[in-house]
């Protein structure tokens, strides 16, 4: 019996010593200075912030900061209850030399709702384990599309420019942004624009022009990559026809018509009563007038709002004309040509006026008097000879 107790005690001691031995293998006093210098030096998630459903990678870089001791690495694993691991674990052994680093990359799927998550990375040494938890976020905030500038109204067949702004309210950069513009009966230029990358918190303007043939919604589609995952944001802009309240409105005034005996000269001012700039303003005369040198067409140039310029056009016209249409043309910033016509009365002086200003009485009377004298003289002569 005594012997039995002694054997039992010895077994218990041996078991206890085994337990203590196992515990001391993890935290062995002799090895802890070595394994304590092996740590995760950096963690990289790509993309940095996931959308729900995004695939990506998590890369843990392990560093051995010991200066003269190698360590054996085993069984690198990524584990989380929410993120799905798409790739396998690192089951093989690797020796990590002094001052060396080794990355462990895992493909993961963020099949989780928005929120903050803390997946863990673990690594086994021959006599200890390494655990590392890092924050990774899932944020479904999309990019923002904002209309910065567009015309008040569109005109059928006239090209107009629209400026939008793409902003990135996310906490990470996005890549490969492409803007597509489409609509029924709309010609867009460019219809597809590569915008490029956009940093977190940054914004970028994008211009494009549209020429509508009918009223329709204009669909803007912005595609971009979060990591390698494509995403889309859309916006509709209504295209309605009407009068642009800001459009340039050149008006002729102070119009004076003169002639120098050979051609009519029409001078005046052109005032831009609109809000937009009128580009390449030109003035010319229309039929029945026939433009003549030196000012067949007068180029006034660009007129900003409230600005004015002078013009002069020269022309001839047929004798029956009492007024002549003067055409004023300009282009908007998109190159569309707008025309307006104003009739200018031809004054009662000048070429036509000379014709209609009355008979040249003096030479006519003089001619008649001469004829009368001649006839009278002969009448008297004949009567005298008769007698």
């Amino acid at each position: 019996m005594k012997m039995h107790w002694i054997l039992t005690s010895i077994c218990l001691l041996l078991f206890a010593s085994t337990l203590v031995g196992v515990a001391s293998a993890d935290l062995s006093e002799s090895m802890s200075p070595v394994t304590g210098n092996v740590f995760v030096s950096s963690v990289t998630f790509y993309p940095e912030v996931f959308f729900t459903g995004d695939k990506g990678t998590a890369t843990y870089v392990v560093m051995n900061s010991n200066t003269n001791t190698s360590v054996m690495l085993n069984h690198g694993t990524f584990s989380d209850d929410n993120f799905k691991l798409l790739s396998g674990t690192y089951d093989f052994s690797n020796t990590l030399g002094p001052l060396q680093t080794r990355p462990f990359t895992f493909s993961i799927l963020a099949d989780v709702p928005e929120g903050d998550y803390y997946p863990s990375f673990s690594l086994s040494f021959y006599n200890s384990n390494l655990y590392h938890k890092t924050l990774v976020q899932v944020d479904n905030t999309p990019l923002e599309l904002t209309v910065v500038d567009k015309p008040d109204a569109f005109t059928q067949g006239k090209k107009k420019t629209i400026t939008i702004q793409v902003a990135n309210p996310r906490k990470n950069d996005v890549r490969n942004m492409i803007l597509e513009v489409a609509g029924d009966g709309i010609t867009a230029s460019p219809s597809r624009t590569f915008v490029g990358d956009l940093a977190s918190g940054a914004k970028i303007p994008v211009n494009f022009s549209v020429t509508p043939d009918k009223e329709t919604p204009l669909a803007l589609t912005l595609t971009y990559d979060n990591g390698d995952n494509p995403h889309t944001v859309t916006m509709n802009i209504p295209v309605t026809f009407g009068t642009d309240k800001k459009q340039a409105d050149p008006v002729m005034s102070n119009v004076i018509v003169k002639n120098d005996g050979s051609v009519y000269h029409v001078t005046g001012d052109v005032n831009n009563a609109g809000l937009d700039t009128a580009n390449t303003v030109t003035v010319t005369s229309l039929s029945p007038a026939v433009p003549q040198d030196p000012y067949k067409t007068y180029v006034v140039g660009a007129l900003k709002a409230d600005d004015f310029g002078s013009f002069e056009v020269t022309f001839t016209t047929d004798a029956n004309s009492t007024s002549v249409p003067i055409q004023l043309s300009y282009r908007d910033s998109d190159g569309n040509i707008y025309n307006s016509v104003q009739n200018v009365n031809i004054p009662s002086t000048g070429i036509t006026a000379q014709k209609s200003s009355g008979l040249p009485l003096v030479p006519i009377i003089a001619g008649l008097v001469i004829v009368a004298v001649f006839v009278g003289g002969w009448f008297v002569y004949i009567r005298k000879n008769k007698k």
Binding site: S262, V290, P291, Q292, K296, T316, I351, Q354, G367, V371
Partner: protein, 225 residues
């Protein structure tokens, strides 16, 4: 022709009475008409130069054509008009039962051009004075559709003809022409009277009717142009 041309101007009746005693001789009449034609050609040259200046942009090289046709047209036209005018007088005199050859009528009609040499000179002097002041419109074909070119040329010619200097020249020319045409008519009355053996009244009517009709036509044109 023994008679002096001075007599033709101041003693016309005697001049033609004496001329009737001689054979028809066209030397002097032809020279008189030629002189009128040459002076008219000079006048035509001045006007043609303005026209060619205006048309040069439309048809390059047309200047010489215009000038040659103007000069030849003036000379030949004067002779042709002499023939026609003699024919008219001959025709009118036939109504009054005139007797005499057309040859004689043609000869005496040619003498009647003598005052017009003076009138043409004065007209030419006026043209030298006024034509440099006429502003000639330049026709440029650039940018003008072909179907509008005719209208452009017409407008340009009309513009030039209504230039103040040109209008004044036209009026002066008409008045001078009237005065010297009546002087010529005076000679033609005596001429046709002797050539066709008419009374003074018939001679005056023969010449007076067409001449005054022509003058009234010129005055009418002056008013409507």
């Amino acid at each position: 022709m023994k008679e002096s041309l001075i007599n033709l101007l101041i003693n016309t009746d005697t001049f033609f009475r004496n001329a009737m005693e001689e054979e028809e001789n066209f030397t002097i009449p032809v020279l008189i008409v030629l002189a009128v034609g040459i002076i008219s050609a000079a006048y035509g040259y001045l006007i043609g130069r303005l026209t060619s200046q205006m048309m040069s942009a439309v048809t390059p090289g047309i200047e010489s054509i215009i000038l040659i046709s103007t000069i030849l047209g003036a000379i030949i036209g004067t002779f042709v008009f002499w023939l026609i005018w003699a024919g008219v007088l001959y025709g009118f005199s036939a109504v009054f039962k005139g007797e005499g050859t057309f040859k004689r009528t043609l000869e005496f009609t040619g003498y009647g051009y003598l005052p017009q040499i003076i009138g043409s000179f004065i007209t030419l002097a006026a043209a030298f004075e006024y034509l440099p002041e006429v502003k000639v419109p330049q026709i440029s074909t650039a940018g003008i559709p072909t179907d509008q070119l005719g209208q452009v040329i017409q407008n340009a010619v009309s513009t030039m003809m209504h230039d103040p200097a040109m209008v004044e020249l036209t009026q002066i020319t008409v008045l001078i022409t009237i005065v010297f045409l009546l002087w010529s008519a005076n000679i033609w009355i005596f001429g046709i009277r002797h050539a066709r053996k008419l009374s003074p009244r018939d001679g005056a009517l023969c010449v007076g009717i067409p001449v005054i009709a022509y003058i009234l036509y010129m005055i009418y044109n002056l008013g409507v142009s």
